[in-house]
Symmetry: none
Subunit: 194 residues, 4 copies
C-alpha cells in the first residue's frame, strides 16, 4: 500500500519529467500531467502541495538521480587529473544512459524558474562537492592551472554533456571523435602549463 503510493508519486514525477523535456517547463499543465499519468486532476493534490511543488520535486528527484549515479560511479583515486578523467567518464556515461534527466537538469539550470521554486542553496545546486574539492586541491598543489575550480568544472561539465548530446543525436561520430579525445582536451585545458 505504502509502496503503491510511492509508485504513483514517482509516476507523476516521471510523467512531468517527460513533459518538461518535450515541451519545456512552460508546457507543464496539471490537466496534462493528470491525463498522462492516468489519474484525476484532483488526485494530484494528494501527492503534491501545488503545481510549483510538482515542478520542484521533479527537479529534485532528477538531481538526486544524477547525484546517486555519480556517487556510485565516481570514486576519486589519484591525482586531480586522474580524478577529472574518471569524473568525465562517469558523467558521459550518465548522459548517454539517461539523456532525459540530463536534459531536464540543463533546462532548469538555464531557466529563472528555478529561482522561483524556493529551494535552499543546497537544493538548487548540483552536488559536485567531491570533484570540486579534488580540483581545488589540484590547483593548490600546482597540478592544475591557476583558475577558479568552478570555471574548470563548468567547462568540463558542459563540454562532456554537449559532446554526449551530439553523439546521441548522431551529429558526432564517436569513432572518429572518441570520448578520450574530448577528455584529452579537457585535461589540456585544466593542467598547469609547464
Amino acid at each position: 500500500m505504502r509502496e503503491k503510493d510511492e509508485n504513483r508519486r514517482q509516476h507523476i514525477l516521471d510523467v512531468t519529467t517527460k513533459m518538461i523535456i518535450s515541451e519545456g517547463i512552460s508546457g507543464v499543465t496539471l490537466t496534462k500531467v493528470a491525463k498522462a499519468a492516468g489519474i484525476s486532476q484532483s488526485n494530484i493534490y494528494i501527492y503534491f502541495k501545488d503545481k510549483a511543488d510538482i515542478v520542484k520535486q521533479t527537479f529534485l528527484s532528477r538531481k538526486q538521480i544524477i547525484g546517486d549515479y555519480l556517487m556510485f560511479h565516481y570514486s576519486p583515486k589519484g591525482s586531480a587529473i586522474e580524478n577529472l578523467t574518471l569524473f568525465a567518464r562517469a558523467l558521459y556515461q550518465f548522459a548517454i544512459e539517461d539523456p532525459d534527466d540530463m536534459a531536464l537538469i540543463q533546462q532548469f539550470n538555464a531557466s529563472p524558474v528555478l529561482a522561483t521554486l524556493d529551494l535552499s542553496q543546497e537544493e538548487a545546486e548540483l552536488n559536485f562537492d567531491q570533484i570540486f574539492k579534488e580540483l581545488k586541491q589540484g590547483v593548490e598543489d600546482g597540478e592544475l592551472r591557476e583558475m577558479d575550480p568552478d570555471v574548470i568544472l563548468t567547462m568540463g561539465f558542459v563540454t562532456i554533456t554537449t559532446y554526449a548530446q551530439r553523439v546521441a543525436a548522431k551529429t558526432i561520430d564517436p569513432v572518429t571523435t572518441p570520448l578520450s579525445a574530448v577528455i584529452d582536451m579537457i585535461i589540456a585545458a585544466s593542467r598547469k602549463p609547464a
Copy 2:
C-alpha cells in the same frame, strides 16, 4: 510614422526580453507584456501575428543583436589560435555589456520551446559561421586539436559566458582570475598538442 511604429515594435520586444529573463519563457503573457509596454492588449496584434510570433521575434532580434556585435567586433586576422582569442574577447565583451540578451539566448538554447517556434535551421542557430570556418581550417592545418570544431566552439563559448556571468555576479574576481587566463585555458584545450 513608419519609424514610430518600428519603435513601438522594438519596445514590445524589449519588454518581452526582460520578462523572459526574469520570469522565464513561461512567464510571458500578453496581458503582462501589454501592461509593461503601456499599450492595450489588442494593440499588440497590429505588430505581431500571435503570441508565438512575439516570442519568436524576441529570440530573433536578440540573436541579431549578438550577431551584429560579433560581426562588428570580431574580424579574423591571423592564425586559428589568434582568431579564437579575438573571438573570445569579443564574446566576453558582449556578455559584459549586454548580459540580458546573452541570458535570453542561453535560456532559449536550453529550452524545447525553441523547437516549437517553426524557425528555419538557419534562424534557430547562432550565426558563428565565420569563427566556425576558421576553427575548421585550423584543425585541417594541424594548428588545432583533431576535434569536431563544434565541440571546440561550444567549449569556448560556454567557458567564456560562464566566466562573464560570474564576473558580473562578483563570484569571480577578474583581477585574480583575469580573462586572459581563461583564454589561455581555452587555447590550451584547442591547440594541437606537440
Copy 3:
C-alpha cells in the same frame, strides 16, 4: 457607450443582490452571476476586480440606495421626538418599497463577511449621522431618555424593519397594528420619563 457600460455593471450588481437575498452570501458564484446576467464569466472581470469586489460593490450600492432614500425623505424639522417619528416613517416606507435592498443590508450586517471586505469604517456603516446627531442632542436637552443614542437608534431601526418585514409577509395586519402604534412604542421607549 459609457452609459451602456454602467448599465451592465449595475445589472451585475442587481443580479448579485437577488442572489444574496435568495441564497445567502455563500450562494454567490461567479458562474451563477454570469449566467443570470447573461454574460460570459470572464466578462465580469472587466467590471470588477474579483469576486470580493462584486460582493463589496453590491453592498455599497445598496447602502447608497438606502442612504439616498433617507437623505431625500427625511429632513429633521423639530424636536428629537418629532424627528425620530419622521425618520421611522421614512425608514418604514423604504423597507416596504424596497424590501430586497433592506434584506441585503441586514444580512450583511449580521455576517462576518462584511469584515473581510476591507471597507473603511465609513463604508462599513450605514450613514445615519443626521438622525444620530438629533438623538444625541435630544438626550442632552433632556428630551430623550438618558441612554446611548446608538442603543435607541438600533432599537428603533430593528423594530421598524422587523415590523415592515412582517407586514410584507402578512404575518402582521397593518390595520389592527398600524405603523403609528409601533412608532408610539418607539417614542415611549425613547422619551425621557417625567
Copy 4:
C-alpha cells in the same frame, strides 16, 4: 464508547460554530472542519449525513443551548412587566456568558441559508413560547401596549442583545449606561400608556 462518540460529535459542532462566527456560513468547509477538529474528512460522515446536516445540527445545538439556558434561568413569576424584566436579565446574562452562540443564532436568523436547511417551523424558530405567552396575556389583560407580542419580543430581544454586544465590545460602558436603564426603556415601550 457511546459517550466518546457523542463527545466527538459535539466537538465537530463546536468547531463549526467557531468557524461560522469567524468566517460566516460560507466559510464552512468540511476540509477545514476536519482539520480544525483533528479528524479525517471522511470520519465526519460517521457523525453527520452531509454538510447541510452539520450546519443544521450546529444551528439546532446552539438553539438548544440558548433555550436550555433561558428555561433554567427564566421562570415567570408575576405580571407581564415583571416577567419581561426577568427575561431580559436572563437573556442579557446569556449574551454575556456565551456571546459566540448568541452571534451564531443571530447570523442564522439573518441568512436565507436557514430556509434551505429543511427545518420544521418549530425547529427554525427560537423557542420563546413561554415569554411569548406571558406577553400575549399581558396585552390581553391591558397591562401591555396593544401590539403584536412578536413585535414587542423582537424589540426587546434585539435591544438587549445589541446592548450586550456593545458592552462586550466596550463600546458602551455598563456603569454609565446600566442594564437596568435599558430594561427601563424596554418596559416603557411595552407598558400600556395610561
